[in-house]
Amino acid sequence: MAADEKEPYTSFLEHKGSHHGIWSWLMSTDHKKIGLMYFYVIAAFFFIGATLGVLMRTELIAQGETIMGPQTYNGFFTVHGIIMIFIIVIPGLSVIFGNFFLPILIGARDVAFPKLNLLSFYLFVTGALLAVISQFTGDGPPDTGWSFYVPYSVKSATNVIFALTAAFILGFSSILTGLNFIVTTHRMRAPGMTFFRMPLFPWSIYATAWIQVLATPIIGITLLMVIAERVFNIGFFDPALGGDPVLYQHLFWIYSHPAVYIMILPAMGVVTEIFPTFSQKPVFGYVAIAISSLAIAFIGYFVWGHHMFTSGTSYLSRLFFSLLTFLVAVPSAIKVFNWLSTMYGGSIDLKPPLLYAIGFIFLFAIGGFTGLIQGALATNIQVHDTSFVVAHFHYIIFGGMGFAAFAGIHYWFPKMFGKMYNIKIANIAFAIIFTGFNFLYFPQLIIGIQGMPRRYFDYLPQFTPGQVVSSIGAYILVTGLLMMLINLLYAGRKGAKASANPWHGVTLEWKIPSPPPVENFDTLPEITGRPYNFDENLKNN
């Protein structure tokens, strides 16, 4: 149980099971290996998605056709969205860090259903491959946008059914992962670890898992309905047959709004682990953060109509959704307050995880405020379907969840791989990424208000300065991302050996060696109090 490197042990990376070579990974039901397999696949897809983004920004750097025509551009933003949303940000932090660290943080040896966990991974890879294949078969890559709005998704001659099937399979993977994590949290906690003695990352994974389980089926059935429209002309969404396209929007967003909370809750959980460690101080308002996670998950079910304010829904319904949208911002704001209060008066150590976590707060706040602007009925009309919306969700998803992901990677890298990266280069990469990010997205807020539509490959002359700055920002951002990637890849191969607890954390993962042994703990820990107790660190100092 003590992180004693003098004692020889077999790390999970070196463990020899009944399979050999690559099969020891591909057939592994070890949550840590599964987490890392997800990590590698998702990282690869992230760079594909980012490349698509950079190419789109290159198209937009000048008016008219720059490197691609309109049909190609429509295909690009569709697949960029499908990859980023269904393959990266929805599964992302749950399947990578949830898999790797949920069992460890609750003092368990693995998840409740390890074989189901591996099945989830294979479903994920299948869905991801189908999404890729959809680009190269049939009558052309889908051009409907990742939201597959009817009637165009029914009429478009492109390869829509492939993409819908890919999304369906990815959704099934998400459901099984969520199921696994709920049962794990209920049944596998170490002796003495009540719910209110769990760290806050498991809380966020738990809240997220409920959304995965209860919202994803709705998109599943909706995608099946669109397939039924395309293949059988079933009529649900076809006005000529009495169907209702707005009903599709309801169904789509009944899932896809809670989906954004699937994206952000684990991200909030990650930074909630980082702030106490790098302030050497307990989390401020532990219970408030735990309850807020559940509140966000719950209230998040009732705001979906704010994506439809201009679709012709009833006034009463618009009022309702606007009100609930403002309400759901409250628990998020509570968390921001609590994170800042955690740092206040603490012994701050500005290492890369903390830099990314602070960047997260800043960018997430901008994303949140711009969300409120969209949530207000009157201003929504001005900004709906403009670059303002694009910038908003990139601030939240990329600036929020993305930066939290980078924070988590830099936090847990030494634990997962037993190696440490170059801190200075990581810090420089952070600065470049942060700078590039804001140059990329802030102008889009401005030109959006000024009327620049989203999903357009061309634009009016007055938007050129903003578009140019934004595209330059993309190049700066990508430079930073590459620097971060290379730094981490190098560390993975040739980095200095990391100790069990390089950051002086106090949660369970820091009490086991880096990398962890296969069974996580020699003896299961006995928990006697709330987490984030830094007294032991004060004693040792």
């Binding site: 009944i254 079910y301 009732f302 109509g305 829904t313 009833s314 009463l316 319904s317 309702f320």
Partner: protein
């Protein structure tokens, strides 16, 4: 193996539940052939809800399960009901 009873219900209890379910089924068929206007659907659905409750409580043993599971089942139905109601805030007030 705490929290769950390993002895199930007796066969007799199950049989009684089935009889009740069949009676309710007959009732719903008969009631809907009588024209009660808008209430016909309401009655049929109410009977369906009772039947579902019986199957869940007795055949699926929710009665003898732990409190969390009972809460979760109730919560799932409630959440779904809210989603339907909220959707109708749009459709009923256009």
């Amino acid at each position: 193996m705490k929290n769950t009873d390993t002895h199930g219900s007796g066969y007799a209890v199950y049989a009684i539940v089935l009889v009740v379910l069949l009676v309710l089924t007959t009732l719903s068929v008969v009631i809907t052939s009588v024209h009660l206007g808008a209430f016909t659907v309401g009655f049929a659905l109410l009977i369906a809800v009772i039947k579902v409750g019986a199957v869940i409580s007795f055949f699926m043993h929710l009665r003898s399960e732990n409190r969390f599971l009972k809460l979760a089942v109730a919560g799932v139905f409630t959440l779904y009901g809210l989603v339907v109601v909220i959707t109708f805030i749009d459709y009923l007030f256009r």
